[in-house]
């Protein structure tokens, strides 16, 4: 079972990100579960959401304490206590940030990509979730990108959908496909 | 059966039977104004109705299981929800494509106080419900406690006069302004002393699409402290002093009044009732309260344009409401 935690701020589509990722996995025939950690969700407050993906039905409903991956929607959250807690030893972190880079945080690889910037370019709103998901899926090869596009099509229509689709393509191109595929396999994908 | 001359009252009545939605044999007190009001209301409303009735005297004295005095479909739920209950009944009628009119019956407690929120919500949502408030100006069924409708200076068990108090400190809640602010198609006040006017208003409300509101002044001999035989007389005086204005509104605008030719002084009304007895002693505060009540009556007369005008007989002595203001004739 693969467990992922997504950190963000209220208003950044943190829960929607989790739902989209789970929906994409379900679209691909797997079992998945996504839910928010239910902090006071005012705009700007740190929030987190959880995703589980498995080939078997998922029974547990507790919060994800030892994620294999972290997706962080705001680089400032890296410094907030708790964001990194429980990350598995081989786990990796995908962070939104202005300058694309690949670094390490201890033993964990951190990839930064300009998700918010891309979002502003393509959909005109500083909501980084679609871009981050596209990058994440590209890095882990968890499912084809088309599964994410299908999940988006369930939620959005018309120009909003088209812009998101372009955003997905652009974001996927900023990271190395499959770089985290082994990590994902190792973690139970 | 005796042969009656065709023009006799008995014969006429026999040939024009009135619909009895509320049967006799219920357990109301002698001279109960509310029982009379409910009979008049259901008579005018006819058989194609369903009634939601809030907790209070009316439901208690009409339905001692296994008996019921209602010849109409009727439900009592709890104290504060009658407007919402009626709203649900109306929604069901709409969905089923039926046109049975929904009536909500409540006392002043179930209208002014505990039922207030639900009433406001029902009106705001525009449900096709006729809400009838049987206003006897206190929580009578539980032993005469004050409500938001209790008039200023009235004695109740929770607003007794004494060394430190002269009855209820606060004014009767201006329910009409509140109803007016909801801009419902039709709202009116009525009195059991003017049955013909009351029936006409019920028929008008029945024909209204959307929320309508009727506040019927219903003296309570026990709670007000007067002889049951004088209920009508007391009710008439309330109108003739101006303390209970009989008016009609459309969407919050005044369009009809029952005029007063010569307003009677409030003391004529108040002195008949034990609940105002403390206003007739030597206490100087009593004088103040009487003046206050007179001022309230005067204000009503001005505000609702209650004075009869002109030589037209019906516009100077109340028997029926007459046109006042507004664009449309009621």
């Amino acid at each position: 079972m693969l467990e992922i935690r997504i950190h963000g701020r209220g208003g950044q589509g943190n829960v929607v990100a989790a739902y989209l990722l789970a929906a994409a996995a379900i679209d691909g025939g797997r079992y998945a579960q996504a839910f928010p950690s239910f902090g006071a969700e005012r705009r700007g407050a740190p929030v987190a959401a959880f995703v589980r993906i498995d080939a078997q039905p998922i029974r547990r409903r507790c919060q994800v304490r030892e994620p294999a991956f972290l997706i962080v929607q705001d680089p400032a959250l890296m410094a907030v206590p708790g964001t990194l807690s429980g990350l598995q030893p081989q786990g990796t972190i995908l962070v939104d940030g202005a300058v694309a880079s690949t670094n390490d945080s201890g033993d964990n690889e951190v990839i930064t990509m300009p998700a918010t910037q891309l979002a502003m370019e393509h959909i005109g709103r500083p909501v980084p979730n679609t871009a981050l998901l596209a990058a994440f899926i590209t890095l882990t090869q968890l499912m084809p990108l088309s599964a994410l596009l299908d999940a988006l099509a369930e939620r959005f229509k018309g120009p909003v959908l088209e812009n998101n689709q372009r955003l997905v393509e652009a974001a996927a191109a900023t990271v190395e496909a499959g770089r985290w595929q082994e990590v994902a396999h190792g973690a139970g994908a | 059966m005796n042969e009656q001359p065709l023009h006799s009252l008995e014969a006429l009545r026999a040939r024009q039977p009135r619909f009895r939605g509320l049967e006799s044999g219920h357990r109301a007190c002698q001279g109960c104004g509310e029982a009379l009001a409910a009979r008049l209301t259901t008579e005018a409303a006819g058989p194609d109705v369903m009634i939601a009735n809030a907790t209070g005297c009316l439901e208690v004295f009409t339905t001692p299981w296994p008996q019921s005095a209602w010849r109409l479909p009727w439900i009592h739920s709890v104290f504060g929800n009658v407007a919402a209950l009626a709203a649900g009944m109306e929604a069901a009628q709409k969905q089923q494509g039926r046109s049975t009119k929904v009536l909500a019956f409540a006392g002043d407690g179930g209208t002014f106080d505990i039922g207030f929120q639900a009433l406001s919500g029902m009106m705001e949502r525009g449900h096709d419900v006729l809400f009838v408030c049987y206003d006897n100006e206190a929580y009578m069924n539980t032993g005469v406690q004050r409500s938001g409708s209790t008039p200023h200076a009235a004695m109740t068990t929770t607003s007794p006069p004494g060394k430190a108090r002269m009855g209820k400190r606060h004014m009767k809640k201006d329910i009409l302004s509140i109803i007016a602010a909801h801009h419902i198609p039709y709202a009116a006040t009525a009195s059991v002393a003017y049955p013909s006017d009351l029936r006409k208003k019920v028929r008008r409300a029945m024909a209204t699409e959307g929320p309508s509101f009727l506040q019927i002044h219903s003296p309570c001999p026990l709670g007000w402290g007067h002889d049951g035989a004088r209920t009508i007389e007391v009710a008439r005086l309330a109108v003739q002093t101006g303390l209970f204005p009989v008016i009609e509104m459309e969407r919050g605008e005044l369009i009809g009044t029952l005029p007063i030719r010569t307003a009677k002084p409030v003391s004529e009304y108040l002195k008949l009732q034990n609940r105002f007895r403390h206003l007739f002693g030597a206490d100087h505060r009593a004088r103040d309260e009487l003046e206050h009540l007179q001022a309230l009556a005067n204000r009503n007369i001005d505000r609702y344009d209650l004075r009869g005008v002109g030589p037209e007989k019906y516009d100077t002595e109340g028997a029926d409401t007459v046109h006042r203001g507004g664009d449309r004739w009621a």
Partner: protein
């Protein structure tokens, strides 16, 4: 085919399939997405019903009652404070034997304020005379909701479908929705025998004197007890249609031969099942998933507990000054067994505290180390957070 759906939205679509004619809606976290979902279906012309956006929960229950007695299938949903605010109407609905279905998105009660999941709200109205069915998964919530309308209308008793707030309502997962044909075949058109009808006028909710009141209460109690048959039947009949069952009154899972039992209501079960499978060194448990809390299935429970040495009752609410709520009822039901299990009663996850995978170990270790029944406790409390005097 399974769809990726958030629990609340799946419930909204399920309600729509049941063809309510009147839906009363008042928002409260975490039920809000259900009524929003229904509103959207109405707005898009996919559901033909009167959506009454009331001004409080007290009115929501009242609108539903009014609609039901006037001949329309009705529905509402609430949680927490809303359940308490409508409480007098809930008692009235059940006492008048009116068939209604509502969803309770289980949430803690104030004060202090907490918007997260526990079962204090539905437990607070356990004596209202409603049937209460608890759902362990979102799929069960969907299936139980459909069954609830049939149970309510056949038994002339209102049904409260309890669904853990946030934990279930806000979780997205693959869910199977029944088809319109399947639901239409299962739920006949709404009929209420004692409905308000000008051509056959009746009085409902009359004043009942001491001479007759006990009989009314007796009849109500008996009706609830009899409804157990219908609860089981509805589950079996629905399972025949869709191939999924919810366990009837209760379901035994885990290791049927274990002599340690754990009884739960709602969604904590899944986490416990995973934890047991992940820890083969820990004692095995027989899980008893209690689905029907009202009526309380005494006979079925006694059968399910046969052979147990120890039974842990893990609940999501407490009765301050008393202890557990479900625990004492379970204990009472098992009291006259020949060898009743030792019952340990714990509450956990109050106010949405995360019920983690190590809860299982904590539970089984606590009871195996105990020589006799322990007094009730909130097993996941951290008293070090409290001043000495409050421990």
């Amino acid at each position: 085919m399974a769809l990726a759906l958030e629990g609340s939205l799946a419930l909204a679509r399920t309600i729509a399939l049941c063809r309510p004619q009147v839906v009363a809606a008042y928002p409260i976290t975490p039920q809000t997405h259900i009524v929003e979902g229904i509103a959207k279906l109405v707005a898009d012309g996919q559901l033909n019903c009167e959506m009454v956006s009331v001004e409080s929960e007290h009115s929501a229950a009242s609108v539903a009652l009014g609609a039901a007695v006037a001949g329309s299938r009705a529905y509402t949903a609430s949680a927490s404070q809303g359940i308490l605010l409508m409480a007098e109407v809930l008692f009235d609905i059940a006492g008048l034997r009116v068939p209604l279905v509502m969803t309770c998105a289980n949430r803690a009660l104030s004060g202090p304020l907490n918007i997260w999941n526990d079962q204090q709200d539905s437990m607070a109205v356990r004596d209202a005379g409603w049937i209460q069915l608890y759902c362990a998964t979102n799929q069960e919530a969907i299936d139980t909701t459909v069954q609830a309308f049939r149970i309510a209308e056949r038994c002339e008793l209102p049904v409260m479908v309890c669904v853990d707030g946030f934990t279930l309502t806000h979780t997205l997962e693959p869910l199977e929705l029944p088809s319109a044909d399947e639901v239409d075949g299962f739920l006949p058109a709404y009929v209420f025998r004692h409905g308000l009808n000008p051509s056959d006028p009746r009085s409902l909710g009359t004043l009942v004197a001491p001479e007759h009141f006990s009989e009314v209460r007796h009849a109500h109690h008996q009706a609830l007890l009899r409804s157990m048959t219908e609860i089981e039947q509805a589950d079996a009949d629905w399972a025949a249609v869709v191939g999924r069952h919810c366990g009837g009154l209760l379901e035994v899972r885990g290791d049927p031969d274990a002599r340690l039992g754990i009884l739960t209501l709602g969604s904590v079960l899944g986490t416990l099942e995973d934890a047991m499978d992940m820890n083969p060194d820990l004692p095995r448990a027989r899980f008893i998933k209690l689905r029907s809390f009202r009526p309380f299935p005494t006979e079925a429970l006694r059968e399910a507990c046969a052979g147990l040495d120890v039974l842990i009752v893990l609940e999501r609410a407490i009765s301050p000054g008393g202890g557990g709520i479900v625990g004492p009822e379970v204990q009472m039901a098992l009291a006259n067994l020949e060898n009743p299990p030792r019952v340990h009663n714990f509450a956990a996850g109050l106010g949405g505290r995360d019920l983690s995978l190590d809860l299982y170990e904590r539970l089984v270790t606590t009871v195996t180390q105990a020589a006799s029944s322990q007094p009730f406790s909130i097993i996941d409390v951290d008293t070090t957070l409290l001043p000495e005097a409050d421990r």
